[in-house]
Symmetry: C2
Subunit: 189 residues, 2 copies
């Protein structure tokens, strides 16, 4: 990201960032991320290429910015007050709800972007890093045998797996089904 998101953005920046991310999202409903070109984004957004590069390193950078917009809507700040045990399932449930809410647009995008494609990988990676951050804040007292970091990554990977199966592969689990599967895998069932 070339533009500094920390400081208060100018009207310039707000307008430009929104235009570029909107354009990316709508392009993704049209074609695969691989075939989307910076020039194309700029043409649709009615900005010269130089402006694009004022804000983003490349198209991957813009994509990641798009995910951060989504994230702000998924993760409210009230995780800390929950008890450790149920936090995993609470978080999982929220992410499930978010996906469920946006599933129309999600499926439209995925119809052009296969599971082996770049978009899918980038998104999965981003979700993973976000969930891992949350998992790392949880102290799992139950299991002293395993290293903490390993356990956090294990929880994260398993959550991602069930989410993936619930929404992105052929089978579409309901929320209760998905949580039951997660509990079984995490041996709480």
């Amino acid at each position: 990201m070339r533009y500094n998101l920390e400081k208060k953005p100018s009207r310039f920046a707000i307008r430009t960032l929104k235009t570029f991310s909107d354009t990316m999202f709508s392009l993704l409903e049209t074609k695969s991320f691989e075939t989307i070109m910076v020039s194309e984004i700029c043409q649709l957004a009615n900005y010269p290429r130089a402006t694009f590069y004022n804000y983003f390193e490349d198209k991957y950078d813009l994509l990641e910015y798009c995910w951060t917009i989504i994230k702000d809507k998924i993760y409210p700040q009230d995780f800390v007050e929950m008890n450790s045990e149920n936090r995993v399932y609470e978080i999982f449930g929220r992410i499930y709800d978010f996906f469920d809410e946006k599933k129309d647009r999600l499926f439209r995008i995925l119809s052009h972007n296969p599971l082996e494609g770049e978009l899918y990988l980038c998104f999965k990676q981003y979700m993973g890093s976000q969930i891992l951050d949350i998992m790392n804040t949880i102290h799992f007292s139950s299991d002293r045998f395993l290293p903490e970091g390993l356990l956090a990554e294990y929880y994260c990977a398993t959550m991602l797996l069930v989410l993936e199966y619930s929404f992105l592969k052929e089978m579409k689990f309901t929320k209760t089904q998905a949580i039951a599967y997660l509990q079984t895998l995490l041996k709480k069932g």
Copy 2:
């Protein structure tokens, strides 16, 4: 892959494929995959760029070919005769041994290619797809509640996680440690 690996390769092809993959491997010990250019590979391999493109789509394609060379050395064909229960740990053990054997070169390569880099991702993805293929041949009778595919992916992801921790992150588990951790996570411990 532009070159058809199914048919019997000519002397030309054998020589060329080996030269390119050797060059890639030795370049990876020198610098990051991101900074390696096709032109650079060709210069070191003493082949014109056009020859490269006769064999490979791009540098990612060559990288994947490099993995297939490694794979042939990891996976002997005698998996089928093992009983389902222990096959997971047997496979895990073999992959552990393979990594352990090659760890010097591995660390040299990783010193130029960080965990967030392309090389690491590509490799992980390739290992994942290979392990998943094997897992899908195993029928897990114990758990009828969970969908088969989900279970296979779960085993695959968990194995990858422990391998990653054993070799690629700061902590270096011994083989028995690693297997014990895997067993605990898969709730057999």
